[in-house]
Amino acid sequence: MSDSGREIEIEVLRYHPERDSEPHFETFRVPFAHDTSVLEGLQYIKDHLDGSLTFRWSCRMAICGSCGKMVNGEPKLSCHTFLRDYYPGKLRVEPLWHFPIVRDLVVDQTDFMEKLEAIKPYIVRDEEKPVSEGVYRQTPAQLARYQQFSQCINCLLCYAACPQYGLNSDFQGPGILALLHRYNSDSRDQGQARRMPIVNAEEGVWSCTLVGYCSEVCPKNVDPAAAVNRNKVNSTMDYFLRFLRPRGASS
């Protein structure tokens, strides 16, 4: 390849819980070609220079959501970001912001997982339809109402981008609110009422200050900011509805 022989400098954040009291940076020189991703750059370091460099990855095709890192201060999927775009400058790779560091580039995602579990991210029905009766009808238009919000790969980039989450990790955050909106907007679902307390709570939509950076960094065009906003409307409606109807009355 014509561009073989080029090398780029990668500065990586290192932290080992068994021996470091604080993180530091270490620099490596990595050869690359036109299609070498940041992830492949890190793999090169691990394979050839320092086997102890630690990071998560799996699919290397931008769908499993494992490989998010900060690259020169921006949250990126490292398998989907290419070294060529930083050359001849250098590259600084850090773990995703706003999460505790486990080791090197690996962050603790427990908080996100707990939030995910709490929002009932599944179809809730008053009565289940037996499988023998076939599928629910859902027109392409009904599908389109939630399809975009079902594309979330849980990569956490939007959390690393969200200043509110950085200040207070009680905030549900963009990805979770997008997922919640996905189920609330699904014509098959009847669980909205049970999810609204999460939306309405102080840590729900109302923490969002409309920065919009979450949607900018999302690699899957989920547009979590739009989900948050629509929920602000829903949340307002929910608030007023409480004054219109006695609690517990069904719609």
């Binding site: 299609d35 086997g51 095709m61 499993c64 959501g65 392409p140 599908l143």
Partner: protein
């Protein structure tokens, strides 16, 4: 060592493991279920599946047709009782996923839609755009959160099974974040750890697909069946091996060589058609398409790319709107990874290893010969794929047999007795000692990556799309050498917390065992069938001697012991596989022969 008590342990949080967990939780809400996975479940490799999942649904389709396509597609090496069960249960599983929220692509009237797929005689592949596996996995994972009896151990790495009194009674795992060992005491274990595609250098698989569960069961004396059958997918990106789904061809894409010629017409897959036509041209089965590429490359008719030889996949004539609606992920992958707009330029593609047809031998209901151990999904050989898997049968398999495994293991767990806890602890400590030895070795020589790459290269050379005796023997010899060098592998990282180098070394141990089973099974199958094609004197299918499953049994410090097992044939006797115009000729000949 920490001990976790459970009734049922499931190893693997991909489609198969999650379906098994939900089935077990529904079958018996009182069971304590532990789901162990080395990655958080939604990161599992199922997430990468693009094209779709099979299930008979249209009026012109029948269960018999799905049965015949599968058996013929597998070159008659599939067990027909298992295939029968499979085709009868695919559709209900697809409907079940729909009820759980899977965003299947729809027709204008709101009904679910299906598309054509290679080797299938009519449209029966359910799809969610070109992210079917992603949506299935997230649907299953999110649905599994409904069941409080499923206890997840995310980012726990299973190292070995515990076998006492002839029964599988749990496993030992490493908590990745800390490097601590845990003993999981369980009355039944379901293995759902996925395939082993990463033993080859160029493959479409995620980094996690390292055959761990296959290796674990094998070392405990469970047979590996039909390991020589490894599917090369005809359309992956050169270099990275990233998959370009068969759905592209299902939607009407063309494959052309460097002269712009649709070369498949020269390989008995014609006539040339402009619309996607079942079993014809680009919709022929994968083994035949990969083999055609091999011949084109030999004849110098492939395209030179910086990352190797390729042919062109043309989607331009489908138009940008259709590409956006039906193949958005492919559109996006081509743009970012290649800088190509598929609405304007062809995508360079070539074959890469894709799927492990063989696996842990089970009966037609997922039970292995080790009491208490069940297997489902790509790590298993339930017997439905034979010598060549049809695209979209495997996602369906995860659901159909994931459910069977979950229910069967739940039944077993209810009745099983437990053995002496002290004996299990002693075993677990021995497992821990062996795993830790990798960290303390002082005389390490080869870097891990050196051995891993050497394994990938020798597998690719010897166990390729076409094989011969000398090449396969050379691979067997090389693998023996690598196993020996593996004993002195060098690790840079001697610490415990989140030590991925250590885990990769344990994976390499499994991979070398599994690679050996693949290579020896291939060498000894002295015929050509499905994905196993030989260039030496064994170029033809030989039903007389090899209408049999290969069984490979592990032997310490020696090649596997090979045995053979008859194929279950109930109603479709072996015949020639026919694609392209031969399909119709055969069909009309058959009709003409009717009384």
């Amino acid at each position: 060592m920490q001990m976790i008590e459970a009734d049922l342990a499931i190893v693997g949080g991909g489609g198969a493991g999650l379906r098994a967990a939900i089935a077990a939780a529904e079958a018996d809400p009182g069971l304590r279920i532990v789901l162990v996975s080395k990655v958080v479940p939604m990161r599992s490799h199922t997430v990468a599946a693009e094209g779709g999942s099979a299930g008979v649904i249209t009026e012109q389709d029948t269960l018999d047709l799905h049965f015949e396509d599968t058996v013929a597609g597998g070159d008659w090496l599939a067990d027909q009782d298992a295939v029968d069960y499979f085709v009868r249960h695919c559709t209900e599983e697809m409907v079940q996923l729909e009820h759980w929220g899977c965003p299947w692509s729809r027709k204008p009237d709101g009904d679910t839609n299906v598309r054509n797929f290679g080797g299938m005689s009519t449209a029966r592949t359910w799809f969610a755009a070109d992210k079917t596996g992603f949506h299935m996995l997230h649907t299953l994972f999110q649905t599994s959160l409904k069941y409080s009896s499923i206890d997840r151990l995310d980012e726990y790495f299973a190292v070995d099974l515990l076998v006492e009194d002839g029964r599988c009674q749990g496993l030992v795992a490493i908590e990745i974040a800390t490097g601590d060992f845990v003993l999981i005491d369980a009355k039944a274990v379901v293995m759902a750890t996925g395939g082993a595609g990463r033993v080859f250098r160029q493959n479409t698989n995620a980094g996690t697909v390292t055959g761990d569960g296959i290796g674990m069961a094998y070392r405990h004396g469970v047979a590996l069946r039909d390991m020589e059958f490894v599917q090369y997918h005809p359309t992956a990106l050169p270099g990275s091996g990233i998959l370009i789904t068969e759905g592209c061809r299902g939607e009407g894409g063309y494959l052309v060589n460097k002269d712009g010629y649709r070369y498949l017409q020269d390989y008995n897959l014609g006539p040339v058609v402009s619309e996607p036509t079942p079993k014809t041209m680009e919709l022929g089965p994968r083994d035949r398409l990969s083999q055609a590429f091999w011949h084109e490359e030999r004849a110098g008719r492939t395209v030179d790319t910086p990352l190797g030889q390729a042919v062109h996949l043309e989607l331009m004539h489908l138009g940008r709107a259709k590409l956006h609606e039906r193949l958005p992920m492919i559109y996006e992958l081509a743009r970012t990874f290649l800088g190509i707009d598929p609405a304007e330029s062809p995508i360079p593609v070539r074959p890469a290893v894709h799927y492990t047809m063989g696996g842990i031998a089970t009966d037609a209901r997922t039970a292995t010969r080790l009491a208490g151990l069940y297997a489902c999904g790509e790590c298993s050989s339930v017997g439905i794929h034979g010598a060549n898997r049809l695209g979209s049968n495997s996602l369906a398999e995860l659901c159909v047999f994931g459910r069977v495994a979950g229910e069967a293991a739940a039944r077993h767990a209810r009745d099983a007795k437990t053995s002496d806890a002290a004996a299990l602890s002693r075993q677990a400590e021995a497992v821990e000692g062996r795993a830790l030895a990798l960290l303390t070795r002082e005389d390490g020589r080869d870097r891990l990556a050196t051995l891993r790459d050497a394994m990938g290269d020798t597998m690719q050379e010897g166990i390729g799309i076409f094989r011969d005796t000398a090449g396969m023997q050379a691979t067997c010899d090389k693998l023996a050498e690598l196993e020996d060098r593996y004993r002195r592998v060098h690790l840079d990282d001697r610490t415990r917390s989140f030590n991925t180098e250590w885990l990769t070394a344990i994976e390499l141990g499994f991979q070398l065992k599994v690679a050996g089973a693949i290579a020896w099974s291939a060498l000894k199958r002295e015929e050509s069938r499905g994905a196993h094609k030989r260039l030496d004197q064994f170029g033809e299918r030989d039903d007389e001697n090899f209408l049999q499953h290969t069984l490979a049994f592990h032997q310490a410090d020696a090649p596997p012991r090979l045995d053979y097992q008859p194929v279950n044939i109930t109603r479709l006797p072996p015949a020639e596989r026919r694609y392209g115009s031969a399909t119709k000729k055969a069909a009309s000949a058959a009709q003409g022969a009717l009384p």
